[in-house]
Amino acid sequence: MQLSKSCTATLTALTFAAIVTAAPGGGTVTGKVTYTGTPAKPKPIDMAKEPSCAKQYTTPLMTENVVTGSGNTLEYVVVYISAGAPDESSAPSTAVTFDQKGCHYTPHVLAFQVNQELKVTNSDQTSHNIHPLAKINREWNKSQPPGTPPISEKYDKPEFISVKCNIHPWMHGWFAVVKTSHYAVSDGSGEFKLPNLPPGKYTLTAWHESYGTQTQEVTISGNETKSANFVFTAKPY
């Protein structure tokens, strides 16, 4: 479905792409992601089984399914243009890096573009297996012993992919593969910013791993900065 839509939009896509690269500047969408209700408390992670990781923490690492900030803000929400913007036909040539350090993924949510190079690195003294549980894309599962070169991969379809390490069952992260160059992940204070938007009417989607997706429409004209906020409903369990 997404595919056919993208086909019909190819022509406009190309024009828009040209505009995007030719004319940075343009409009900006900024906003804040917050929640209402009571979210589940982060839980401490016990890494006893992997002493080389456990000893890197004086206080235990916490789960990151729901990371909140003061003022009920939500971190790790992927906000991206899901409609209205052209599909990007070429991926950026820079690679994104997903690091494993202290038996923990950084960043917890990594957003990147279709066909953009993904590099997975292992900064630990132990082997990890990187197992992104892709359902639409090709699934793979590879171990990375310490000191070995980065694993380089690409995804050719947009998808939110849960990533796990079977060796360390607590390790969990996400790949947000999007087909637009207009995306952001909300930071520690729940804020995000999508710059360089050419004028137009867009659908903005916010995705949170536990609380699902929300969308809203924004229209940009000229160089204006529009604000778009998202509010998710939190669940205690």
């Binding site: 016990d46 089984k49 992997e50 789960t63 297996n129 079977n166 069952p169 969990h172 536990s210």
Partner: protein
């Protein structure tokens, strides 16, 4: 050539026996209430098999040294008593060994597997999964909440698939990544596999038992010595098999109570 073979056989027999006699690589000290039976059985078997091994190699060595071809047309002779003596000796020797080991050996097995866990045993559920062990204590209500495989969410530390939103019993269940137990207290383990086959092995406890997906297997033991030991998986379960482990922490009753209290906060 026969003499050389005899010497090599001699060296092999002695070389194999020395590390065993010296316990260079041997079982660690036993910390369980039943382990002494296994240890005794092990020593007896070692003695009998060891003697059989060394004796066989030495006799073989002696015969090859003595009966090399003399090229002088010596007439072949036969072992006094012939095949009959050999068969009778084999049946008598091995038969008694089999009976002795089989009959006395069953006690240790019975202690572990035929006896039920003591009624005051502390129930703990252990789940094996790719690639770790997680332990569940019933919490203050003394009840384990039900498991819902579809609720498993490891990134959120829900390894067992508990549903505290709907199951009241689950809310106070304590989940731990180490098996913490009080010393000298019978423990009743309920063994549950989440994905594929695994095994639970603590050398010092003299306990090993497979996890079988689809079966919940009961197991019981009593640890008699405070300390920290390793629990490892001995059933090939996938790429992380080598790193599937947890620690067993045997604590005094007071320390254990305190640990439990800390956990339920």
């Amino acid at each position: 050539m026969g003499k050389l073979l005899a010497v090599v056989l001699l060296v092999i027999a002695i070389g194999s026996a020395i590390p065993i006699l010296m316990h260079t690589w041997w079982m660690p000290e036993d910390i369980s209430s039943h382990g002494y039976m296994i240890d005794k059985q092990m020593s007896e078997t070692m003695a009998e098999s060891g003697i059989a091994f060394v004796a066989a190699q030495l006799v073989l060595a002696g015969f090859v040294a003595m009966f090399g071809d003399k090229k002088n047309g010596r007439k072949a002779t036969h072992l006094p008593g012939g095949a009959k003596a050999v068969v009778i000796a084999a049946i008598a020797l091995v038969g008694t060994e089999v009976l002795a080991l089989g009959v006395f050996g069953k006690d240790a097995w019975a202690e572990v597997y035929f006896k039920k866990a003591a009624t005051d045993a502390l129930p703990i559920q252990v789940q094996a999964e790719q690639f770790g062990f997680y332990f569940r204590y019933a919490g203050p209500d003394g009840k384990f909440g039900p498991l819902h495989p579809d609720k498993i969410d490891e990134g959120n530390q829900n390894f067992f698939g508990l549903d505290p939103a709907n199951d009241v019993e689950s809310r106070d269940d304590i989940i731990a990544a180490s098996l913490v137990i009080p010393v000298n207290k019978p423990i009743s383990l309920m063994m549950h596999a989440k994905d594929v086959g695994h095994s639970f092995y603590v050398r010092e406890l003299r306990i090993q038992q497979d996890f079988v997906p689809g079966l919940d297997i009961p197991m019981h033991f009593t640890a008699t010595k405070v300390g920290k030991y390793e629990i490892v998986c001995t059933q090939l379960c996938g790429l992380g098999h080598y790193n599937m482990r947890a620690y067993l922490e045997v604590k005094s009753q007071e320390d254990f109570d305190q640990w439990l209290k800390q956990q339920s906060q």
